[in-house]
Every structure is written in structure tokens, then in C-alpha cells.
Symmetry: C2
DNA sequence: ATATATGCAAATACTTTGCACTCGG
DNA sequence: CCGAGTGCAAAGTATTTGCATATAT
């Protein structure tokens, strides 16, 4: 926890940004909810518990900044809301998701399934891949069992 | 062209919807711009040329309906705008995209690259895949050559 | 000290909805 | 004919921005 905060602090400083209490509180919320896929509003509400004076605009600005620094990845599952997902330690690529169309749960796939596919795309289309988004929509194992 | 309109008409009727002039004009715009990735607003402006009395709300409603019928797929590339992409003739799955971070162009990959990956996900996670979204972000061949 | 960051409120962007009117089948 | 569909304007969400003030380094 503390080490990861420390690392974010370094990343901020490297890009000459400051680690303000608001930014720290936001990162803590993201760390504490690592498996969720919080919207800016969700983050705001949780940060407000720790730091009630924070404004929604600051949360938006912080999340945008963290996305720029690749601390978080921004994703949109099709409802019109941007969600923010902490990048796993040492992960080179954004992980994948499975969205259940029945119960709405979002599960993660951490393993990189796209290695071969990406090599092929780079070769066939001469497209330099820097990032990807892969989401499956379907029925999760919990709903299937019913 | 006309055959594809005809097919959409049948799909509408099958689900007991009507083919109104507004809906037809919207489908025509989508057909005429098949390789683009138009937002609702884009579609609206183009439909307005053919049928100036149409309202933006009708375009939204029509696109929503067409998405439901799987005539179009709705996708969001990360800017906050929903885009609509005509499903290719006979395609079982939604095709993939490459978004250029330099010039913003979106290119399509029609070949289904995910066959093996999906078999694996279904097996490993017991997740029934009904749809997918795969987008690569990077530098397109045109920008690379400069 | 001072450039950067913040909070608030107002502005903007996108999308949905209510309702009276219209029209396709 | 009549329920489905439309246009318009108003309401909802989600997100961004301007600006005066506060603060991390």
C-alpha cells in the first residue's frame, strides 16, 4: 500500500506534478478498490469520506492525470460512463474484462491473451500497437449456474 | 444497397417495427458511410440533407433500435461519444478496430482474430461470450511512414 | 515565493424523455 | 383506424472550464 503510494509520488514528481492530499486520497481509494471499476463519481463519493472538502472537479482532474501517467487505465463499458482501473504492478498492458449482461458484474482477466494476435496485427497492418482494449460481453459463470 | 435496405425492413417487421422514411434515411446514411464511424450527431447531420425535418431524438432512437436488432454495433473509442458501425453482411461477430493516436483515423479489421482466445476464455472462466469489443490504440501505417 | 492545484459554480457535451401530433400498415 | 413513431423542447447525466484562492515544494 504505502510503497505503491510512494511509487505514484515518484511518478508525479518525475513529471513535475505535486502529490497533494487530494491526489493521495484518490490513489488510496483506487488501491482499496482495486478489483472494482469505479466511475469518477464513485471515486468522488469514496474520497469524500476521507476528505470531505474535495470537489468533484478535482477528482476528474486527478483521474485524468493518473491516466496520463499510466497509473490507471480509463475504460468505457458501453454505458456512457468512464471507469478507472488501476494498472497492475508491472503490467505492460491493460488487462481484459468480461462484462456479464445478466448481472452487470465485471470480472478481470489479467493474463495477456493478445500476444500472438498483436504480433500478427503489427505485421499485417503495419500498425504500431501501444495500447488495447478487449472486453467480452456475455453471461458470467455465476449466472450460468442458475 | 436496395437489397440491404430490404433486409433491414424485414428485420424490423419481424420484430413488429415499421420502416418509416426517417428510419430508411438513417439506414441509407449508414450504408453510404460504411467505413466511417459516425456518431449520432454525424448521422443526424447527414440525414438532415435527405430529410431536413428529422429530429436528433429520432436519430438516437433509430440507432438504438438498429443496435438492438444487431444491424449496427455501438462502440465508444474513449472520447465520450458513442459511434455506430454497420455490421458486415453475414458477420457473426463485431469486427475489430485500430485507432491511430496520431491522426485519429480508425481502421477496421474484419477478420475474426479472437476465435482461439474466446474458446479459451469460455473454457477457463466458464463465461458464455455473446459479443466482444477489441480496439488497438497506436500508430497507423500512414503516420509511421512519415 | 510561486507555479501548481483546488473548490465552486457555471458552462458544455451527449443523450433521454414527455407530450401532443402524425402516419405506416 | 390506431398504436407505433415523430419533432420539439425540456430534462438528465457526464464531464470540463474559468477564476479567485490556497498550498506543496
Amino acid at each position: 500500500m504505502e510503497e505503491r503510494i510512494q511509487r505514484v509520488k515518484e511518478q508525479l514528481h518525475k513529471a513535475s506534478y505535486k502529490l497533494t492530499p487530494q491526489r493521495e486520497a484518490t490513489v488510496r481509494v483506487l488501491l482499496e478498490n482495486e478489483s472494482d471499476h469505479l466511475s469518477a463519481e464513485d471515486v468522488y463519493l469514496k474520497v469524500k469520506d476521507k476528505a470531505p472538502e474535495i470537489g468533484l472537479a478535482t477528482v476528474y482532474r486527478t483521474l485524468e492525470l493518473l491516466a496520463e501517467l499510466k497509473v490507471v487505465d480509463k475504460i468505457n463499458f458501453g454505458d456512457g460512463v468512464a471507469r478507472f482501473d488501476l494498472r497492475k504492478e508491472g503490467a505492460k498492458h491493460f488487462h481484459h474484462h468480461m462484462v456479464c449482461m445478466e448481472c452487470g458484474t465485471v470480472d478481470e482477466i489479467e493474463e495477456d491473451l493478445l500476444d500472438d494476435v498483436e504480433k500478427r496485427v503489427e505485421r499485417e497492418f503495419n500498425f504500431k500497437i501501444l495500447d488495447h482494449r478487449l472486453t467480452f460481453h456475455g453471461i458470467c459463470h455465476r449466472c450460468r449456474e442458475e
